[in-house]
Each structure stands twice: as structure tokens, then as C-alpha cells.
């Protein structure tokens, strides 16, 4: 089942997902494309509502039946959406699985941990009760849970958040999937545990040669872990590049803004974190311009009327922006806005500075 060279394990092409609501069609994902090769990690980064989870759920066939999906998802040459409609068994959970954000709720509270891990093995791989149980114990050991045999008979509420997320990971890995989608796997966890879980995921991925999609709102999480990064906003791809390029030649003002929202070790303490003013747009109101324009400090008149296309910046680096960071157009737009104090979208430039939170401030 080796993937032939050149063809990606997972290929998503022009994916569009809409939800019909009383207020109109919500475009949760609007033309997203990416390829993921076996054994590699793709980081999908964006704020809540950017469409990253919906993208993941589309791949996992977890969307409610009223979702309207267009575009194609191919896994190892197989049409995933066709598999979904034909009710294929032993595909999800075997070839690809997913780990969710909140380990407190993604385990069934009334079933023992061991049963929950063993059920995939029994259903998909037809293991006997005892075999499945033994393997579940091994899996718990692999995800670094102390006293794994004892944990098998415990209920989720008897475990801490970090341990529960490890159990969830063990569950997801039971049938040795080739693709693991981790949707904000550490957001609900204590900061002290987050790094452990991310390192664990990374280690397991490498050990098993698994591909991984790591979804997060935190660019810091994917830095150093993902091979490629896709930045999403309002259901669209804003910027996409391999990780090194993205951080060294950041093009999109949104990517830049995202990076400024997270504290960094190398910044002096008490540095201001810069918030992104405003909030993600309501995806029902599809504007003609760039969706980020109302919150962008490099916004120009063109941004309000014309939707930027996803342009090649070199080496597979793409960016959808009229005035990218690091270009003359972008620099001019920004300095013009700074001079006038307000962007063409009506945003007060002061919002980028004065509302900032003092990092490390005791209050």
C-alpha cells in the first residue's frame, strides 16, 4: 500500500462547504486546496470560525447531512466523498482518524477506557476480546500513560485532562491510521501539559510514518512541528507555504497579525502583544473584497472591492493579498494608513496599539 512517489496521500481540491440556515447560506469553507504527502505534517492555522474544523470534518465525513459539499477529497487515490455516500466501512478509523479539542467530552463517560480503545480493534480488525484488551494496554503504554493495564478498567472521570487526551490519542491510533487529524488537540489542556501532548503526537507520527493535519489557532504550535502551513480566514486560504518560508517570508498581513498575538520567549518581558482588532466576519455576508480588509492595517481601496486571488510567491508559497507584507505596495498602503490614522475600511489605526495587552503585566 505504499504511496507512489509524487502523488500525495491526501489531496483536497477546491473544497467548498456551505450550510443552509434560516438567514441564508453560510459558506464555512470557500475554495480550499492542499496536498499532504505521507508522513508529513500540515498545520492549518486560523481563528475560530475560519473554517479549519469544518475542513477537517469534511475529510472525516463528520458533517451533518444538511451540509452542502463541493470539490474533491482524494485519499490514496480513492474518492473520499464517494466512499462516504456509499457507506464504506473500515475506512474512517482505519485509514484516517481524528483527535478532538476537548478530552473531557470526547470520551464516553459511561464506558471504561479500555473498552473505548478496544472497540475499534474489535470492529475493524476483528480482534478477540482478549487480544483487543492486550493491544489497548500496549497503546496506552505507547502514549505514555503510567500503569496502562490498570487504566484499562478506569472510567474517564477518574483521569486528568492530560491523561484523557492521551487516551483519546491511543483510541485514534488503535488501527494504525495513515492520517491523523488533530483539531486543536491542546487548546483545552493546561499549558504545562500542552507541550507534552504535542511532542507525543509528533513522536508517534514519526515512529509510525503517519501523516498529520495539526489544526490550531496558534502559529507557535505549528512552528517547528509542521512541514507546511496553511493560514485560513473566513473559509478561505490566505497564505500557504512550507513552514520555514512562511516564517521567513511572511506575506499576508493576517499571518503577520496572528504571529503578533502570541507571546514569544525571545521578546523582552512586558512587550506588548498586538491584538487583531475587530472580529472574524459573519460568513453569511460574503463581501466582494478581501474578507480580512475590515481588520487589516494595510487595507487599500482595492481590498474593499476586489477579492484577491491566491498568487504564487515562489517555491509553492501562495498568498491572497493585494498588498502583501514585504512588498512595496504593502509598505506604502500601511504607511498611508498610519499617516491618515484610519484605514479605507474605517478602522482606527490606534486599535493596533493602544488596546494592546501588556504581556507579563501582573494585573
Amino acid at each position: 500500500m505504499a504511496v507512489t512517489d509524487g502523488s500525495p496521500l491526501l489531496s483536497v481540491s477546491d473544497l467548498r462547504v456551505g450550510f443552509a440556515t434560516e438567514r441564508g447560506l453560510v459558506r464555512a469553507v470557500d475554495g480550499v486546496s492542499f496536498d499532504l504527502a505521507a508522513g508529513r505534517t500540515l498545520g492549518i492555522v486560523g481563528e475560530s470560525g475560519s473554517g479549519k474544523s469544518v475542513t477537517a470534518k469534511t475529510i472525516m465525513n463528520l458533517l451533518p447531512s444538511y451540509a452542502r459539499v463541493e470539490g474533491s477529497v482524494t485519499f490514496d487515490g480513492r474518492d473520499v466523498r464517494a466512499l462516504a455516500s456509499s457507506g464504506a466501512r473500515h475506512f474512517w478509523g482505519v485509514e484516517m482518524t481524528m483527535v478532538f479539542q476537548d478530552p473531557m467530552t470526547s470520551l464516553n463517560p459511561v464506558k471504561k477506557v479500555g473498552e473505548q480503545i478496544a472497540e475499534s480493534l474489535r470492529v475493524h480488525l476483528k480482534r478477540s476480546r482478549k487480544e483487543a484488551r492486550d493491544e489497548a494496554g500496549d497503546l496506552l503504554e505507547q502514549v505514555g500513560i503510567p500503569e496502562p493495564r490498570k487504566r484499562l478498567t478506569q472510567y474517564p472521570h477518574e483521569l486528568s485532562g492530560g491523561l484523557r487526551q492521551r487516551v483519546v490519542i491511543a483510541m485514534a491510533l488503535a488501527c494504525s491510521p495513515r492520517l491523523l487529524i488533530a483539531d486543536e488537540p491542546t487548546t483545552a489542556l493546561d499549558v504545562t501539559v500542552q507541550k507534552h501532548i504535542l511532542d507525543l503526537l509528533d513522536g508517534l507520527r514519526e515512529e509510525r510514518g503517519m501523516a498529520m493535519i495539526l489544526i490550531t489557532h496558534d502559529l507557535g504550535v505549528v512552528r517547528g512541528r509542521a512541514d507546511d502551513i496553511m493560514v485560513m480566514y473566513a473559509g478561505r486560504t490566505m497564505e500557504q507555504a512550507d513552514t520555514d518560508t512562511l516564517f521567513s517570508e511572511m506575506r499576508h498581513p493576517y499571518t503577520e497579525a496572528l504571529l503578533e498575538t502570541i507571546p514569544r520567549i525571545d521578546m523582552p518581558s512586558h512587550s506588548r502583544l498586538v491584538p487583531i482588532p475587530g472580529r472574524p466576519p459573519d460568513v453569511i455576508e460574503v463581501s466582494t473584497g478581501c474578507p480580512f480588509a475590515p481588520r487589516c492595517r494595510s487595507c487599500t481601496d482595492v481590498c474593499l472591492t476586489e477579492r484577491p486571488t491566491l498568487d504564487e510567491q515562489g517555491h509553492g508559497h501562495v498568498c491572497a493579498c493585494h498588498g502583501p507584507v514585504g512588498t512595496d505596495v504593502g509598505a506604502m498602503a500601511r504607511s498611508a494608513n498610519e499617516a491618515s490614522g484610519v484605514t479605507p475600511a474605517g478602522l482606527d489605526m490606534a486599535a493596533f496599539g493602544s488596546a494592546g495587552v501588556e504581556a507579563g503585566d501582573g494585573s
Binding site: L62, W92, G93, T97, M98, S106, P109, S120, Y155, H157
Partner: protein, 334 residues
């Protein structure tokens, strides 16, 4: 264990309260002496003994005067003592297993209950089993495609079942299955277990269908709520089938309301059994209680109250224990 001890203490307290109320009400609202000896209870014995008046039967009734009979009855039933004292004596007898004898035919109450109770219990068990067995697959099917055609039809059907009073339901079933198609016997047949069960089908349905409707409503709602949980998405991501997820993941944590109402509904069933036992001619406790109430046969009424209240309280105690089997998190608080 502390949880169990608490529940047991509450159980005893409830039983004491119920029996005290029933005992007090019957003794105050009725006249026990009149019920035992009949109209001679009104004789003014002091006057008779003082020779001022004659008693009603003209002195002799098999050698004993009315007053002697009245006095004997007073002594026997401790009617000369205060009400709380009488209650204490009565309770002591009950605890020792002595339920007294019927005022009317001198039958031991225990024997009456022993004869009638099994039929009523069988009726209630059949009704509850039907309620549960019908409601679970029904609710699962409705919740699986919530707000679709089947679910909507189920809503209408279940409200219909709840709206029909049980005497009407009983008569309708009786008319079709007994009178017209003669599938089931018209009265209770006590020859063997099969005959007993067969006689219980229609009465069981009469009580069980509204139960099934209630349970279906509750379970459907809880299932739909549980289906929104993250662990259901997780199970889907693990590639579990819809059926597997429904029965292995969703059903158990959704049973709380059903189990609660299961316990409470037994009280309603006792009321319902009075009606149903009459329609289907089942010589059960329900009928016996109605007759005893009409004839002011206190010992039978009180004995039945004790048995019914105990049954009700014990079932609801069991329900509390069942919670901890449904959800292991309940055990922690115990």
C-alpha cells in the same frame, strides 16, 4: 454505602408517614366500631347497664346483650385506646406479619393479599415490560432521524396514546380482541403460566401503551441530546457504525429520565390497575381494594396500602441504585 444507608432511612420514614396517614384517615373519617358490629354500635351502653333503657335487640342475642358484643369488639380492636396508641399496636402487628382479619368475612388479610397481589404484580410487570420493550426501539428509531417523517408520526402517535384514558383503551382492545376476533380470553384464566400470561396481554397493553408513549418521548429527547456530545463525533471518527454508536454509546447515558419516570409511573399503574382489573375481570388487589373501600373494610384497605406503598418505595429505591449502574460518576458521590 452511606448513600445506601441514607436512602434506606428515607424509605422507612416514607413508609411510616404513609401508613400513619392512611390509618389516621380511615379511623377518623370512618367509624370502625360501626363497621365491626353494625348498627348496634350506636347503643348507649351506659344507659343500658344502668337499666334506664333497653338495648335494640331486647336484651338477648344468643345469650349476649348488644353491650357485651360492643364491649368485646371495642376490646378486640382496641377502640377504647387513643388513636396513636392504636396505630402503634397496629404497626407492631404489621411488622410481625399480622395484618388482621377482614371485618366482613373474617378472612385473614394476609391470605386475601397473598391471593390477589400476584395477579396485580403480574399485570404491572407485563405493563412495564411492554412499555420498555416498545419504547426503546421506538425512541431510537425516532431519534436517529429526528424531525423526519417517522419521528413526526411518532410524536402524533404517542400523544394519541397518552390522550386516550385507560378505561377507553381497555374497552377498545376488549371489543376488538375479545368480542370480535376472540383472540384473547374475556376473563383471567389461572390454569398455568401460559394462560396467565395470555390473559395479561390485553390488560398489559392497556397500561403499557401509555407508558411506552411517555418513555418514548423522554428517551427520544435524551437520545437527541446525547447525540450532540463530542464522544459521539469521536466514535464516528473511529469509524463505528450508526447502529453501534446508538446502542453502545448513546443509549446508556440517555436512560436517566426514563428510569426516573419508570419508578414514578408504578404509582400511576396501581391506579390504572383498578380500572383494568375490572374491565378484564382479573381478581387482583386493585379490585379488592376498591371493594374494601366501598364496604369500609379497614384491615383490607390498610393492609393493601402497606403492601402498595412498600412496593412503590422499594422500586424507587432500586431506581436510585440503578442510576449508579448507568453512570459510574454517580458512584463517586455515594
Amino acid at each position: 454505602m452511606r448513600f445506601l444507608a441514607h436512602r434506606l432511612a428515607a424509605l422507612v420514614a416514607v413508609l411510616l408517614a404513609v401508613t400513619a396517614l392512611a390509618f389516621g384517615a380511615l379511623n377518623i373519617l370512618g367509624d370502625p366500631l360501626f363497621n365491626v358490629v353494625g348498627f348496634i354500635a350506636s347503643v348507649d351502653c351506659d344507659a343500658v347497664l344502668a337499666g334506664e333503657i333497653e338495648d335494640i335487640s331486647g336484651q338477648t342475642a344468643g345469650g349476649r346483650g348488644d353491650c357485651e358484643i360492643v364491649e368485646a369488639a371495642r376490646k378486640e380492636h382496641r377502640l377504647d385506646r387513643a388513636l396513636p396508641v392504636r396505630y402503634t399496636y397496629w404497626l407492631g402487628d404489621i411488622v410481625r406479619g399480622d395484618f388482621g382479619t377482614s371485618f366482613k368475612n373474617e378472612m385473614p388479610v394476609r391470605q386475601v393479599i397473598a391471593e390477589k397481589l400476584p395477579k396485580t404484580v403480574l399485570l404491572m410487570v407485563v405493563a412495564e415490560v411492554m412499555g420498555v420493550v416498545i419504547s426503546i426501539p421506538w425512541a431510537v428509531a425516532a431519534a436517529y432521524r429526528a424531525n423526519r417523517r417517522f419521528d413526526r408520526a411518532s410524536t402524533v402517535t404517542s400523544f394519541g396514546m397518552l390522550a386516550i384514558p385507560n378505561f377507553a383503551m381497555g374497552i377498545i382492545l376488549f371489543y376488538f380482541f375479545v368480542v370480535r376476533w376472540q383472540v384473547f380470553p374475556s376473563r383471567f384464566e389461572d390454569t398455568d403460566l401460559f394462560a396467565r400470561l395470555k390473559s395479561m396481554v390485553l390488560p398489559g397493553l392497556t397500561l403499557g401503551l401509555p407508558l411506552a408513549a411517555t418513555y418514548q418521548r423522554l428517551l427520544r429527547t435524551d437520545l437527541i441530546t446525547t447525540l450532540q456530545e463530542d464522544f459521539v463525533q469521536m466514535a464516528r471518527a473511529k469509524g463505528m457504525s450508526d447502529r453501534w454508536i446508538m446502542f453502545r454509546h448513546v443509549l446508556r447515558p440517555s436512560l436517566f429520565s426514563l428510569v426516573t419516570v419508570f419508578g414514578l409511573s408504578t404509582a400511576g399503574l396501581i391506579g390504572g390497575s383498578l380500572v383494568v382489573e375490572n374491565i378484564f375481570s382479573i381478581p387482583g388487589l386493585g379490585r379488592a381494594v376498591v371493594e374494601a373501600v366501598i364496604r369500609d373494610d379497614f384491615p383490607i384497605v390498610l393492609g393493601s396500602v402497606v403492601v402498595i406503598a412498600t412496593g412503590f418505595v422499594v422500586i424507587n429505591f432500586t431506581v436510585d441504585v440503578v442510576y449508579s449502574f448507568i453512570d459510574p460518576r454517580v458512584r463517586r458521590d455515594g
